[in-house]
Amino acid sequence: MPPTVSQLPPAVQAYLLEARQMQAMSFMVHIPLVCFGIAFPAMVAFVEWRYLRTGDVLYRTLARRWTKVMVTLFAAGVVTGTVLSFELGLLWPGFTGNFGSVFGLGFAIEGFSFFLEAIFLGIYVYGWDRLPPRVHFVCALPIVFAGILGSFMVIAVNGWMNHPQGFTVDAQGRVTDIRPFQALFGNTYFWHELVHMYLAGNMVAGFLVAAAYAVGRLRGRWGRYERTAFAVPLSVAAMAAPTQIIVGDWAARDVATEQPVKLAAIEGLSQTANGVAEHVLGYYTDGRVEYGIAIPHLLSLLAFHSWNATIQGLDTVPVADQPPVNIVRFAFQTMVGVGTLLALLAVVYMFIVWRYRRLPITRWFFRAVAVAGPLSYLALIGGWVTTEVGRQPWVVYDYLRTAAAVTGATSIPVGFGLLAAAYAALIAGTFWALYRLAKSPMPPAPADPARRLLQPSGGPGAQGLTAVD
């Protein structure tokens, strides 16, 4: 085989930063939809299961209305996911062109999970009332499974980019001796990322859905329909939020061992040192954190469980190999701060349920949940910025620089602008569609008066609490 022909050499690109921003924008639009793909089908299936068990029409109404939301979000997720896969070629041909044979398998398998999701979503959505009820319920399960499998594959690729293995680079700089299964699935680094993202998906989807009904509660919509639609996603998110802190700690320890430079950027640590303090808040300048609150020895303790453990600083690599510190640091602190607040909210919720055996009633709780939805998205983005910007300047850690992976095509700024406009339309359109779905009238109560258990507290949208607040 001729040595040069199977290589894509780096190209000159004046718009590298724009290419990275375009990728980041595409990602920020897609990732919340992924969260819904991971967590929402299970919630819909749970509600449908309650319907099958109890025959209570309220659950059926809720599951059907959520199904429409799911269709809308899945359609947006399909196209934004396609954008990401195109961009791996349109923006980063040096990445796919040189390493595609190492990591590509993960995406090929993800394609199959995508298939499963699309096929059974089509059946599930259009099969309501037309398929036998049990068959219809069973069709939800492959959607739940595919959401997990798909994120597994994508995270496997991301884990590999951060901790590459399963190939050799020979003397001519060619990637040889490729072992794709080892690269993707023999990687010890990606498990914490997978669990972290899976919990994040449940938190974001759970808090966002609950937030919509919390806003409704603040406006006086609090029938049994709304209470169910609020309690199910909030309970799911509450299960995930406290655990997320523990899993995040695990992730940070893996980063400390495998990507010390990323940890140094997260903490703003310029010099290698022992018994390092953790700085909360503040910003990084001239090799140190200004205006931060230092907690002595905490970083050594957290990262290596040792009072005087050595933490590598940014000085262990040349300046050209250091990621931008402040972006990574702010993103990390945002994620940790918001994540802590969300966990606190979850604990408050569980405490109230345990103590009083009822849903919370104070307006402050619902205000907090209404804010928790958007905040959980903020934390999600913060986490991904931490890991992706913290990986810079590498796309394949220590092997391929982002600058060497970028396309030589000069159309990036125009493409960025057009895609931003298209995404503005997509976001506006999706919110409009969700708003319209929320406004669509509830089905009338069934004529059969013998149907038990139906809406004991009045129908959906009943004015539950206005008299008291």
Binding site: G55, A76, V79, N98, T407
Partner: protein, 419 residues
């Protein structure tokens, strides 16, 4: 060599399926634009939408599969194509975005005025996307994509006669397929006479596609001689003949109202055309880049074949299930299935110990994840967390919580701060 061709065959099969399935979805969008106004036009548009709505996402995924198989199996080819053809691929992508958006919006509104805007956007993007993808095929087939990172011309690579004709052909073949498929689907509701309407459209699309194919062949004679030679000799010629015969058979079957079989004939015609292109440019993927040079190592190729084989075992029965339901009309809006049977006994009470057991599991997970340094400890910790979450959800019982009347209406909270 067989391995290298096997992966290429997977990619080609994916492309064929994308063209005959999603291509028809694009064609349906085209016919929605050409449906005209008034009640008749709305009937045609609604029929086109109903037929593809349950299947479009699954059909679209073929494109994603082709892309992922190509960058895994033939990374240099993929990188060269996507960097040189960035502009048409990006425009195709914009079309894909707006198509998906239109599906999202379509579920949300019944208002005719809003539907018109959505349908128009949908139709335009249904033309742009196949046109651009077709132009990319034309650019590759006419040898205008050199090996390298954006080594070819960003514009002239796809704005030449061969590429543009290829783009038009992609639109017209999609329209042809859609007309045949929709005529067959219309058989389920014979009253409206929709099958006749799409029968006529199938004839028109077939004539236009045939004319475009001949024109493309004529242009290729001078513009892309390698492609022309490939298509007029050996395997390439055989594929072209198969395509032509199948197309004529399809038209004949449409003429005698045998839409079910016509569907297959039309799909074969389009598939043969794509295979002819592949045969015409073998053994080269790009000028100077043979399949052999471009292919990834054997380890990767075996992995792809294994993964696809396993995936196919799950995929094809699922697809068959979807299409059987869809083609039998069991997903149609006016269809009613059996009513559910519900148990008569009361819903079981949740076990009282679930909360405490969940908390115990969580503490076990916490201790193992934070203080265990071996992987096995982490695995057990994650399992413990999962069990804790399930037990916790059981203990919370969100559905039962919500079923309670809000106590504040009647009774003040028992003691302490009220949440």
């Amino acid at each position: 060599m067989i391995l290298r061709l096997a992966v290429l065959a997977i990619a080609l099969a994916g492309l064929v399926l994308y063209t005959v399935l999603a291509g028809a979805d694009f064609g349906a969008g085209f016919w929605q634009l050409a449906a005209g106004t008034g009640e008749r036009g709305r009937d045609l548009r609604d029929h086109a939408h109903r037929s593809i709505a349950p299947v479009w996402e699954a059909n679209h995924v073929w494109l994603v599969l082709v892309i992922t198989v190509l960058w895994t199996g033939y990374p240099t080819f993929f990188g060269s194509v996507f960097s040189t053809l960035a502009v048409p691929l990006f425009l195709a992508l914009l079309g894909i975005i707006f198509r998906g958006l239109c599906y999202a919006l379509h579920t949300a509104t019944e208002d005719p005025r809003e539907r018109r805007v959505i349908d128009a956007t949908f139709s335009i993007s249904s033309i742009v996307t196949p046109f651009m993808l077709g132009a990319c095929v034309g650019a590759i087939a006419s040898g205008r994509v050199p090996v390298g990172n954006a080594a070819g011309n960003l514009f002239s690579s796809w704005t030449n006669a061969t590429s543009l004709l290829s783009g038009f052909m992609a639109v017209s073949t999609g329209a042809f397929l859609a007309a045949v498929y929709l005529a067959a689907d219309a058989r389920r509701s014979p009253g409206a006479g929709l099958d006749k309407a799409f029968r006529g459209r199938a004839f028109a699309a077939a004539v236009v596609t045939g004319a475009l194919a001949l024109a493309a062949l004529g242009v290729a004679h001078s513009d892309a001689p390698t492609l022309f030679h490939g298509l007029t000799r050996g395997l390439g010629l055989a594929a072209v003949i198969v395509s032509a015969v199948a197309a004529l058979a399809g038209i004949g079957l449409v003429a005698v109202y045998r839409f079910g079989i016509a569907r297959i004939a039309a799909a074969v015609a389009v598939a043969a055309l794509l295979c002819g292109w592949a045969a015409a440019q073998r053994p080269y993927l790009l000028p100077g880049l043979t399949v052999r040079d471009a292919a990834a190592g054997n380890g990767t190729l075996i992995a792809v074949v294994v993964a696809v084989a396993i995936g196919a075992v799950v995929l094809f029965p699922s697809l068959a299930f979807l299409f059987r339901l869809s083609l039998a009309g069991r997903l149609d809006p006016d269809r009613r299935g059996p009513r559910p049977q519900h148990p008569d006994h009361e819903d079981a009470r949740r076990p009282a110990w679930a909360g405490r057991a969940g908390l115990a599991c969580w503490v076990i997970g916490f201790v193992l994840l934070v203080f265990s340094d071996v992987d096995a400890g982490h695995v057990i910790a994650i399992i413990a967390f999962a069990v804790a979450a399930l037990l916790g959800l059981t203990a919370l019982g969100p559905d039962q919580l919500a079923a309670q009347e809000s106590p504040v209406l009647t009774v003040p909270p028992p003691e302490g701060p009220s949440f």
